[in-house]
């Protein structure tokens, strides 16, 4: 396939990279409505990329000096990330126009970071993995600080950058140790080298731990989660939406691939680390979210909690675990798209909604919106019959398959604790009487409405035909 020079262009990553530059130039030369037009073009480009990923299943891209690999697992997560970034560009368009942040660079930054994520998901080499992570992160650092005249946005950008750079440094040091002790950067070679030994030597264990720390930063697992609530809070809402929806998908896929490909034979070594990260994330996510009054901080802790559940499936490290991760990630993305589609359209007294207590009385003024929020919250809490329940259900199936009984019981206990703060939002909307006459406006563009109704439809109706998603995720190979 690579013999034909034109076909190179149809490799999804290369197509996305070229199109991103086209988008950049397109925005640069447009005089009017540059932001809106560039966003539309970016959505179109991402859509084409999805088609390419989908129809490109026979590509030999993996052979590109073994820098990247290619499997149904990577394809699934790439499509998920692309769908997530399409959705977040569409739902955030009106918000950006509303706060008069019309830099056409924003969709381009999203495109570049999506490109980084695609490369992250399929990377098969320590070097390509690092470069992909950096491409993704650098775009996100800029995106977090994009609102230049806002102190909180700049602060969150800097915070994200410093902590992200630190974690990249740790990650890189881990890579160097792994390279030093195995003599290879390629995942398959590392795996082959390690399969000859029964136990890791001390240097490799250090390398593994450093890499785990770096990856835990990227997925924001406890105790490396500190940046998440601050960055979520400081960045503009729509950027927060992007942070919540897309990079997590790529980071989760990466941590799965890193644990299950080069280090598959050293399950005992890395599973202890993941086990701790998982338990700590579930409980800290559940408990810390209770005290939050800012909806973005609450969602940050909620995402930390969700990461804990996904890591349970990684500890299980079996086929069911991969299936569970893909189902959970899908449900996580859908639920976050839905909740951010609503948050980016809700205005209280002409300000975009920040405080949870401002939701008071929403059920009176906007019954449909508050019903939707309730459904999303119940789904996030993992209450059947919504999609969130099935994500958790598959995670626990995977864990029990591996006889991780204690971990499963801890997981369900954490889910009960986390149910409290999800219920609190429903309580504020429905049970509290609104005293003051707060004016809540819900204005949503037609495109976001489609995204919102589609994701709500999936949340509610998944139960009626689960096999559609499950058949796809059952056949994923890493």
């Amino acid at each position: 396939m690579l013999n034909n020079i034109y076909n190179i262009f149809f490799i999804p990553e290369i197509f996305l990279a070229c199109s991103s530059f086209v988008c950049l130039l397109f925005g640069l030369f447009l005089k009017k409505n540059a932001f809106r037009q560039t966003s539309n073009l970016a959505v179109f480009v991402l859509f084409l990329t999805i088609l390419l990923v989908y129809y490109d299943s026979e590509s030999n891209f993996a052979n590109y000096k073994s820098l990247f690999s290619h499997s149904s697992f990577t394809n699934f997560f790439k499509i998920l990330a692309l769908l997530g970034s399409i959705a977040s560009i569409i739902i955030s368009k009106d918000y950006f126009l509303g706060i008069k942040l019309k830099n056409f660079e924003i969709p381009v930054l999203f495109l570049f970071s999506t490109l980084g994520m695609m490369l992250m998901i399929s990377s098969n080499n320590l070097m390509s993995m690092y470069l992909a992570i950096e491409l993704q992160s650098l775009s996100l650092y800029v995106a977090a600080a994009i609102k230049r005249d806002s102190i909180s946005s700049a602060e969150s950008g800097v915070k994200y950058f410093i902590l992200g750079a630190l974690s990249s440094g740790i990650l890189l040091y881990g890579f160097s140790l792994i390279y030093g002790f195995t003599g290879s950067m390629n995942f398959d070679d590392i795996s082959f080298y390690l399969s000859k030994y029964n136990n890791l030597n001390l240097g490799l264990i250090f390398g593994l731990v450093f890499v785990m720390v770096g990856l835990a930063f990227k997925v924001s697992a406890v105790p490396f989660h500190m940046w998440t609530p601050d960055v979520y809070e400081g960045a503009p809402n729509s950027i927060t939406g992007f942070f919540a929806i897309v990079p997590k998908i790529a980071a989760v896929a990466l941590i799965y691939r890193f644990c299950l490909v080069p280090f598959e034979n050293f399950y005992l070594e890395w599973s202890q680390i993941i086990l701790f990260l998982s338990i700590a994330s579930m409980f800290l996510g559940a408990i810390a979210a209770i005290a939050q009054s800012n909806i973005k901080r609450l969602l940050a802790y909620s995402s930390i909690g969700h990461i804990g559940y996904i890591l349970i499936a990684l500890v299980a490290a079996n086929d069911d675990g991969i299936k569970a991760a893909s189902i959970y990630m899908f449900s996580y993305m859908i639920m976050n798209v839905a909740i951010f589609a609503i948050l980016l359209s809700l205005k209280v007294k002409n300000e975009y909604l920040i405080n949870i207590s401002d939701l008071k009385g929403l059920s009176k003024s906007n019954p449909i919106v508050s019903l939707s929020i309730s459904i999303i919250m119940l789904s996030m809490a993992g209450i059947p019959p919504f999609i969130g329940f099935f994500g958790k259900f598959y995670v626990f199936i995977a864990a029990i398959e591996q006889e991780l009984y204690v971990l499963s019981v801890l997981g369900v206990l954490a889910s009960v604790i986390s149910a409290f703060y999800y219920l609190r939002i429903i309580k504020i909307m429905y049970f509290d009487e609104s005293i003051s006459e707060e004016i809540i406006n819900f204005k949503i563009s037609f495109q976001s409405k489609i995204i919102l109704s589609l994701s709500l439809f999936l949340i509610i109706c998944f139960i009626f035909y689960p096999s559609l998603l499950i058949n796809i995720s059952a056949n994923l190979t890493i």
Binding site: S363, P367, F396, A419, I426, Y430, S467
Partner: protein, 494 residues
């Protein structure tokens, strides 16, 4: 036999009604349409569920009207519903009580009528679905989904401490049921089947059974509720609106008893044998302790709530006797309690609607102004006490007969509880109904109106019918219960 999916229609008819209501715009004029739509849907469901009873084959102990479709492609989870002798009356109880609840809320729910009716119709769907499920995953989904509408009903339309009560209810019961989820998955891993029918064959090793049993116990003991897991119940009952209390006492508590029969007895017989002394002790403590607590209450609803815990203690004794009389008695007691306590809460609702207080002190001498009310209240009060001729008697009598085969100490405990129940109910009745009116505010209280008659009289008739013709109800369930007992004895004889 019927060749159309009767059970599914019964399950999903209320949901369809809810969808229709969702599209009715709510304002002053149309809220009456919403109420009528809800009432007609629930009545339709009730009539359909009567067909279940009329066409029921008494000679078949296993599931009837079965429907089975593949649901998940990767695991053996099915959409599998059906009705047997045990679930038949639980379904009838749900479909019978829901229209009464809608009627009972006809005038006293003034805000958010649409959401209220939606919650009730959704609740009816999940209740029926839960009792009709043959697949455990399906059962679990319905079992947990019950929490959503009930949380909203207590939280939105409840009393002053409704938020505390609704959170306590939700989190307490969720904590119990998530452990059941783990147990369900473990069962599936061991047998690759989720069919309740299939799993009733003792497939688990003794140690596994013990853990599974405890997980199921956590869920059902909270739901039924057993002492000491009952503390959510008085709060939930007191704060819930009348119709919420009716459903809570009438149907939701039975989910626990139903679960014990299906799962603990049916699937984990050896572990059940091991834990019987625990259950008996907790039940007797529950009966005696909560009866004494009930005696000290000043709030009518709280008193009835504690009496529910005591009555459920008799149910758990009956179930874990695992003999024909005990199980039949437990089933009868559940049906009877479903009708009687629901009716008692409705009776409290009648005077609460008029006076807006539930303090016993406030009332007295109601018979002077409300003779008809005094009469129906008496029927239900006697039903709760267990007077011969009412439904309460049959259940308690059978349980005590069954208990003689097990241990006379259990009989003494249960009988003591029954005596105490007479004490607190008669004392309550005396304080509210008899005497002369001392409180001036009661001077012009009105007797029950036509709507309230329509609600209370069918309940009174069924309480007496159940007491006089118990075989009408015992015959359909007999074979299904025998099947469970036979399986249990075979498993424990090994």
């Amino acid at each position: 036999m019927i060749d159309w999916p009767l059970v599914s229609v019964i399950i999903f008819l209320p949901l369809i009604g809810a969808l229709i209501i969702l599209f009715i715009k709510e304002d002053e004029l149309t809220s009456i349409n919403i109420k009528w739509a809800a009432l007609l849907t629930t009545l339709g469901t009730f009539i359909l569920s009567l067909i279940l009873w009329l066409q029921f084959d008494y000679s078949n102990p296993s599931y009837q009207y079965e429907e089975k479709f593949r649901w998940f492609d990767d695991f053996n989870f099915f959409y599998h519903v059906g009705v047997d002798g045990i679930s038949l009356f639980m379904i009838l109880l749900s479909t019978f009580l829901t229209p009464l609840c809608i009627l009972a809320s006809w005038n006293n729910i003034k805000k958010r009528v649409k959401e209220y009716m939606l919650s009730f119709l959704f609740l009816e769907t999940v209740m029926i679905g839960m009792f009709a499920s043959i697949d455990i995953l399906l059962f679990y989904i319905f079992f947990e989904a019950v929490l959503i509408p009930m949380y909203l009903i207590i939280g939105i339309w409840g009393g002053n401490r409704r938020i505390y009560a609704s959170f306590k209810f939700f989190l307490y019961t969720l904590l119990g049921s998530v452990l059941m989820l783990i147990a369900i998955i473990v069962m599936y891993r061991n047998t690759s089947s989720m069919s309740i029918e299939f799993l009733q064959g003792n497939y688990f090793s003794y140690n596994t059974q013990l853990f599974l049993w405890l997980a199921f116990f956590a869920s059902f003991a909270v739901k039924i509720p057993m002492w000491p897991f009952h503390t959510w119940l008085p709060d939930a009952h007191v704060e819930a609106p009348t119709a919420g209390s009716v459903i809570l006492a009438g149907v939701l508590l039975k989910m626990g008893g139903y679960g014990f029969i299906r799962f603990s007895l049916g699937m984990l017989p050896e572990a059940t044998e091991f834990f019987i002394p625990l259950i008996m002790t907790l039940s007797i403590v529950a009966i005696v302790y909560t009866s004494l607590v009930a005696l000290a209450q000043t709030d009518i609803k709280k008193l009835i709530a504690y009496s529910s815990v005591a009555h459920m203690g008799i149910v758990t004794i009956g179930i874990f006797l695992v003999n024909q009389q005990g199980l039949e008695g437990a089933m009868m007691q559940m049906i009877s309690h479903g009708l009687v306590s629901a009716a008692l809460f409705l009776c409290v609702g009648v005077i609460y609607d008029r006076m807006h207080t539930r303090e016993i002190e406030f009332y007295g001498g109601l018979v002077q102004r409300m003779p008809l009310y005094a009469t129906v209240f008496m029927i239900f009060m006697l039903g709760s006490v267990g007077l011969p001729g009412t439904s309460g008697f049959v259940g308690e009598f059978l349980v005590i007969i069954g208990a003689f085969k097990f241990s006379s100490y259990v009989v003494i405990g249960a009988a003591f509880g029954i005596i105490l129940s007479a004490v607190y109910m008669l004392y309550l009745y005396k304080r509210i109904i008899f005497g002369t009116i001392t409180n001036n505010k009661l001077a012009d209280i009105l007797d029950i109106n036509t709507r309230e008659k329509i609600i209370l009289i069918p309940l009174a008739i069924s309480v007496i019918l159940l007491g006089i013709f118990p075989n009408l109800f015992l015959d359909p369930m007999r074979l299904s219960l025998e099947l469970i007992i036979t399986n249990y004895e075979i498993a424990n004889a090994k």
